[in-house]
């Protein structure tokens, strides 16, 4: 039950963050796109600020006593490097990730984002299935 409340409360905060950025700044809270924008030489301050806010959330949580995610929950370095590379390439080609297509695109009733979300969820599910139950 506690996990359900946390999921709903955390989700609501994510929704408020996305709604706020849209109605106040006029921008979609797609994290892969914002991060890619922050990497460009001509990065706009708001891109950097949003990414800074995300990073700061992790720091604040640690200061507030939230436990770190155990290292054993993370894949070994080589797998993480490959995963990161694929996430970077895929989100730029497909123009979005879980936040941009999944949260914002579906909130915007976008058929394009619905297709993207179904595809990345299906492929991710298949990847976990093969890694866990086949290999």
């Amino acid at each position: 039950m506690e996990a359900v409340i946390h999921a709903i409360a955390g989700g609501a905060l994510i929704g408020i963050a996305a709604a706020g950025l849209l109605l106040i700044n006029g921008r979609v809270a797609g994290i892969s796109g914002i991060f890619a924008g922050a990497l460009r030489p001509a990065a706009t301050p708001w891109n950097l600020a949003f990414i800074g806010g995300l990073v700061a959330a992790g720091i604040l949580a640690r200061l507030a006593g939230f436990a770190a995610i155990p290292d054993t929950h993370l894949e070994p370095p080589l797998i993480l490097a490959a995963a990161g590379l694929l996430v970077g390439i895929g989100t730029r080609i497909g123009n979005g990730c879980t936040s941009g297509h999944g949260v914002c695109g579906l909130s915007n009733l976008s058929p394009r984002s619905l297709v993207a979300t179904l595809v990345f969820m299906a492929v991710a599910g298949l990847t976990v299935f093969i890694a866990r139950h086949v290999v």
Partner: protein
């Protein structure tokens, strides 16, 4: 002002991810592993976020300008092509492999240890590769 509100949005987004438990790759994989002990938390988080954000998007579609004066930039909703499918599939492969997507990986930078940095640097490199190929083909 736009910088401050963007920072607050990022902060709130990150806190939401942490409270929802979405920065833990084990939970993400438990959601993706439909054949295992399925954990539906991620679906619940998304449904809750969408329930809150959808009215804002409905409003945004009818308003040309945001509160701070900029034009509201909404992405294309219709174009479904090979690039979209290919990109989403490659992203899904990486997401399933590592249990991390861009938001949680950035929140995890302060988790301690090198692992989140390896993921984020590789992600930045992947994005850079696509940008370079786009530029050379343009």
């Amino acid at each position: 002002m736009k910088t401050i509100t963007a920072a607050l949005s990022g902060l709130l987004f990150g806190i939401g991810l942490i409270i929802a438990g979405m920065t833990d790759p084990v939970r993400i994989k438990a959601f993706l592993d439909v054949a295992g002990e399925w954990n539906p938390a991620l679906a619940l988080v998304m449904a809750s976020a969408i329930a809150v954000a959808a009215p804002a998007f409905a409003l945004a579609r009818r308003r040309p300008r945001a509160l701070l004066g900029d034009a509201i930039q909404l992405p294309d909703r219709r174009r479904i092509d090979g690039r979209l499918i290919l990109g989403a599939a490659v992203f899904g492969l990486g997401w399933g492999l590592g249990g991390l997507c861009p938001g949680p990986s950035l929140v995890l930078l302060s988790n301690g240890g090198l692992s989140p940095f390896i993921f984020v640097v590789a992600m930045a490199a992947g994005m850079g590769i696509v940008e370079l190929t786009k530029r050379s083909s343009a």
